[in-house]
Amino acid sequence: MAEQPLPERQSPLEPEYHPGSHGNFEHGVDVILSETRPGSILQLAAWPGEEKRLIEIIRKVTGLALPDGAGGGVSSGGRAAFGFAPGKFTVVDEAEGLAQAFAGSITPAIGTLTDLSHGRTAIRIAGPKAEWVMAKFFAIDFALPAFPLGAGRSTNHHDIFAQIQRSGADQFDIYVFRSFARSFWKALCHASEEVGYEVQ
């Protein structure tokens, strides 16, 4: 595939993205919301029995060593990877072109690569009340022992499918379908009003 310059990517959140403090922030801002706009969001899938080979390829290409086990993940230096389903992984890079970096290494015998960079929107929620706000949205356990650092979860919020990675002790990255992202963002802002939020 010849590399061609892509048009500049527009954020689907743009009309509803209002930097600044909002909601009940007189006593302080307890969550910070932002769009991280990674250049590459990939979905990698291994055929049954090929999972370890795929994990090794992810390590070679990105330098991220995925831990064994369901939902295991890691996030470091602008790159992130996590398992979200049996044999399936989301791999994210701040920079564009990660799909090309994988080209040739994921052979048809091992699995598949799907470039979702234009199909997903990445939203970050951080701060002391991030777990609280997330727990209002999703029926899963966000406590650190149940949802360790780097780990990924797939779940949904009113039928909007979401992949969530814990990228910090009080920070989560949420990947949602781009076409639903603005609606999800508005809901997340409303949910954050009670604790006071800042959009960066």
Binding site: W47, P48, A70, G71, F84, A85, P86, K88, A109, A139, I140, R153, S154, T155, N156, D159, F161
Partner: protein, 97 residues
């Protein structure tokens, strides 16, 4: 009702989609045994008690699961990946390299 997905852990039933009775056996696609096809399409055990079912974790990891559920109490007795140790639902052999 909570179903414990083997991959995701315990999740609310709202994340799952019922995919039907897990006791059916689909005839080979070329089969002309009308009784076997009739049984596959229409015959159900409909027990009052433990029932083997196929569910999909459609709002999570999207894996297909074999779930044993008590139809009276809704207690979930076991969950496992549908593909593990079972024939594929459509009886096709795994023909990948």
């Amino acid at each position: 009702m909570l179903i414990t997905c083997p991959y995701c852990g315990p999740r609310d039933v709202i994340e799952f989609t019922y995919q039907g009775d897990g006791n059916r056996e689909r005839p080979q696609p070329a089969s002309q045994d009308l009784d076997a096809w009739n049984a596959y399409v229409y015959d159900r055990l409909n027990p009052a008690g433990d029932h083997s079912e196929i569910w999909q974790h459609s709002g999570g990891c999207r894996a297909h699961l074999r779930v044993v559920r008590n139809t009276i109490t809704h207690e979930i007795l076991s969950t496992e990946f549908a593909r593990g140790g079972h024939k594929s639902a459509d009886n096709r052999a795994e023909d990948r390299p």
